[in-house]
Symmetry: C2
Subunit: 214 residues, 2 copies
């Protein structure tokens, strides 16, 4: 509203960076406002409280990330009647490393924040996370169920947790430059795991199975 970047945005940028580096509780408002070159009281004036700032930092990126995921998912669904499993998984994984709005490693930073939030037991933050994610996860679960008929929804939900865990941990831990390669590996890894889940679940006694991956 005034200069190159508004006070609100400068606070959000600095908070995002410091939260990723130090954590939510370990980062003080004085660190944030000093890095953002704004007054200490600006945080409580614009956001109300530190907790509200944390949520705001979250929503800004998570909205964009999940929107990008859904867009790519629609593209995948539009291409084939029974959607290609790999295309669905790519729609979930690839935007996680490509949605960087600002600097090049903003995605990496945010993944670190996301992992902190998942590890955190903060109720309010957890509920806000679920609210953002529940719709998206359900949409992807449905798409995967279409691509892999025969997989029970209850099992599917757990497999999705595996993928979320692997994605979040790996993206937060590894080098930024390897992002694309990691995503490709994870898609392959997850696709194989999902296909095995269906064949094992439908025939639990069969140890010798045969799979064809088109």
């Amino acid at each position: 509203m005034n200069q190159a970047t508004s006070t609100c945005d400068r606070i959000l940028d600095s908070a995002e960076q410091l939260f990723a580096e130090e954590g939510f509780h370990a980062t003080s408002l004085r660190q944030i406002t000093q890095a953002a070159e704004v007054n200490l009281a600006a945080v409580n004036y614009h956001f109300g409280s530190k907790q509200a700032l944390i949520l705001a930092v979250f929503r800004r990126r998570l909205d964009a990330l999940n929107r990008a995921r859904l867009v790519q998912l629609e593209q995948a669904l539009a291409q084939g009647k029974p959607p290609q499993l790999e295309a669905v998984l790519e729609a979930f994984v690839v935007p996680a490393l490509a949605f960087t709005h600002g600097s090049a490693d903003a995605g990496h930073r945010f993944m670190r924040i996301l992992m902190r939030a998942l590890a955190d037991r903060d109720e309010q933050l957890h509920r806000a996370l679920s609210a953002e994610y529940a719709h998206v996860m359900q949409r992807f679960a449905r798409a995967i169920a279409e691509a892999l008929p025969g997989l029970h929804e209850r099992d599917l939900r757990r497999q999705l947790d595996f993928i979320v865990g692997a994605l979040t941990y790996t993206m937060a831990e590894c080098e930024v430059s390897d992002g694309r390669e990691i995503a490709a590996d994870l898609v392959r890894f997850a696709a194989a795991g999902l296909r095995k889940a269906i064949s094992s679940r439908t025939k639990p006694g069969a140890v010798r199975t045969l799979e064809i991956h088109p």
Copy 2:
């Protein structure tokens, strides 16, 4: 040294529980000492500092966990010349939910702490974690390489990260009672992913592949 549980142990128990529920930075020494019914100064007397207490909480469980993993891995390796992939993965996954020394959900609690530590950027804690884990991970990587000849070590390391992420996230997030079932699913999931990785990497152009799971 004196009663049913020593001061040190009571501090470690209370700290572990509170760290899992609230996080490292969000938990104060006064909360811990009050829950443990010991004097505030006891922490600094017995452990030196809060940071040292965090490391102590960690080492106590992680040592036992990784020791149990290696024992089960040796059993798996002793059974077959080329080790069974599923047996190797079980040796990594199952102890994570079975190593509970004290109360029934101690393992669940510790997984939450472990996830916090992985998310945390604290250098000292991270180095301590690597020191505990590096040896174990290398041992498992070698075992998996034996079970799956043809898989490059560089790729294997990344697949292991996927498994660690999936295990930590799922164990920390889900119900305690589902532990055994989750472990079985994760082993199946990971085994399929690893087998696909080797076949995809050796023949990168081949989209139509065939797999037999003995």
